[in-house]
């Protein structure tokens, strides 16, 4: 049983998928059971839209971004170290979409694979 401070060790940390791909930050956490003495993390919330609970600037960013909140079940979490590593591939969790869209354009330019 190790003691983990969620605010310090999980929130705002880098997410890595199964293959080590960087696929966002832990933008917020969904907790449950706070009222029945069984507090636990249900899911990680990822994406600009998830920032609306993170103060004034977070609300602003969530407002101007049009993306959806990505919900990643806590069961998907493999390890919590410097980064939070997930058990699946980013694409299967709906993560890393922004990079996928940008890749579509970048790969058309000559020398994109250098």
């Amino acid at each position: 049983m190790t003691h983990v401070d969620l605010g310090e060790a999980v929130l705002d940390h880098q997410l890595l998928d199964r293959d080590g791909r960087r696929c966002g930050k832990v933008d917020d956490l969904e907790l449950a059971g706070l009222d029945r003495d069984d507090p636990h993390v249900v899911e990680l919330l990822v994406g600009p839209a998830a920032l609306r609970t993170r103060g004034l600037l977070g609300r602003l960013v969530a407002h101007v971004s049009r993306g959806h909140v990505r919900h990643v079940a806590w069961e998907q979490v493999d390890t919590v170290r410097a980064a939070v590593t997930l058990r699946s591939q980013a694409s299967s969790l709906g993560l890393g979409r922004g990079d996928d869209r940008a890749r579509h354009w970048v790969q058309r330019i000559p020398g994109a694979h250098r």
Binding site: D12, R22, D99, G111
Partner: protein
């Protein structure tokens, strides 16, 4: 042998990252206004960047976090976003200044119209960033930038009064206008500690896959690289103090700086100086370009790094491309790159505390750092410099206004 190669990261950081257009402008302006009196401010700034580069390199090697990972974790989203906005704005202004500087040097070499050369400079920086591997960028700009050593020869040949030079290493309030003097202190320390250096340095450490076994290399890079940068800064200031101050010349272009190397070494000296400035400033342009893109990618958690190829880190690629286009848009208006440089350094000073505080906090966190947590020496310097950085951050803008950007009242 591998150790020697890995020191190259530090040499690039020193030449391309340390001696950039900000250092050239502030050291030469300080030398031609106050002679050797401000050499101590360079020592102060170099000590600061050595302290924090070592610390952020150690944090990267041990905890696998680059600077903006640390900033977001420690400051949280809101304050972190403020730090990001400041950091990216300063990187953008610095990049604009470096691109303008490259065009100015090209103009001296080729004699073509400045705006045409701005296009050449921006396209050149973009092509290098797009096609060259990290190791080439590191070595080519680092080693050709070493041509700047010609200024060490120029400084010695200018026959400065060595007693006065030695005296300059002792902090003083200076003779002359106190407000202008204080403005130069802030500018010199700020140019030495400009934040993109640590963004680039720590991200480079992660790109090179550093671990605890590389901590010796880290210390050597920070110490040797930035000390070398410091010696080049001394040389620029001493040369300017010996050649420009007695004749009351205010060198307002990079050309007059390069001319300082012509007097001892003739045309060869002039060419070496121009080549050194060109590669140092172009290298710094690439550092700044990547520094800004690293920050954005690390803050939002998307793929980053030159090692991943352009298509492997697509938003990172888009981020630096957009920064380059915006920087070009700033300088193509015709605004004086030297002016942009001064403004960028002064605003960088304002952004310094938000960059350095989280590094200090994480370097002291035993959960992250284990046995590599800051020791007494790192903390004495770290906390000391944080106090200095907060002080100059508060003073920077008022001094810029009060001193009329160093022109005097």
């Amino acid at each position: 042998m591998k150790a020697i190669f890995s020191i190259a990261l530090g040499v690039l950081a020193a030449i391309g990252g340390f001696v950039d257009i900000g250092d050239i402008v502030f050291n030469v302006a300080a030398g031609s206004t106050f002679g050797y009196q401000l050499l101590w401010a360079v020592v102060l700034g170099v000590g600061g960047i050595i302290t924090y580069a070592e610390m952020c390199g150690r944090v990267a090697a041990v905890s696998k976090r680059a600077v903006f990972d640390v900033i977001r974790e420690r400051l949280g989203f809101g304050a972190g976003l403020v730090a990001l906005a400041g950091g990216v704005l300063v990187s953008l202004l610095t990049l604009a200044a470096e691109v303008g500087g490259v065009a100015l040097v090209l103009q001296l070499l080729a004699g073509l119209p400045y705006r045409l050369l701005l296009v050449v400079a921006a396209v050149g920086v973009g092509v290098v960033a797009w096609t060259w591997p990290f190791s080439w960028i590191e070595r080519v700009f680092g080693y050709v930038g070493l041509c700047l050593l010609v200024f060490v020869v120029a400084a010695i040949d200018s026959h400065p009064e060595w007693g006065a030079v030695a005296h300059g290493f002792v902090p003083s309030t200076g003779s002359g206008d106190v407000v202008v003097y204080a403005y130069y202190v802030v500018g010199l320390v700020g140019a030495a500690m400009i934040p993109y250096e640590v963004y680039f340095y720590s991200s480079g450490a992660i790109e090179e896959g550093w671990g605890p076994k590389d901590l010796g290399t880290n210390r050597a890079n920070a110490l040797i690289g930035y000390s070398l940068g410091g010696i080049l800064s001394f040389a620029l200031m001493i040369t300017a103090g010996a050649l420009f101050l007695p004749h009351a010349i205010a060198p307002d272009t990079l050309g007059s700086v390069a001319l300082a190397a012509q007097s001892p070494l003739g045309v060869i000296g002039l060419l070496l100086a121009l080549l050194g400035i060109l590669f140092a400033v172009a290298g710094a342009a690439i550092d700044t370009l990547f520094g800004g893109a690293y920050s954005i990618a690390q803050f939002f958690g998307f793929e980053w790094g030159r090692f991943r190829t352009n298509v492997g880190a697509p938003r990172f690629t888009v981020a630096w491309a957009v920064l380059l286009v915006l920087a070009f848009a700033v300088v193509v208006t015709g605004v004086d790159p030297i002016l942009v440089t001064e403004v960028s350094v002064i605003f960088a000073v304002v952004a310094l505390p938000l960059t350095y505080l989280p590094i200090l906090l994480v370097a002291n966190d035993r959960n992250y750092m284990g046995v590599y947590t800051n020791g007494l020496v790192a903390n004495v310097f770290g906390i000391g410099y944080l106090v200095i950085v907060v002080g100059i951050a508060l003073a920077a803008v008022p001094l810029m206004v009060a001193s009329n950007m160093g022109q005097g009242r």
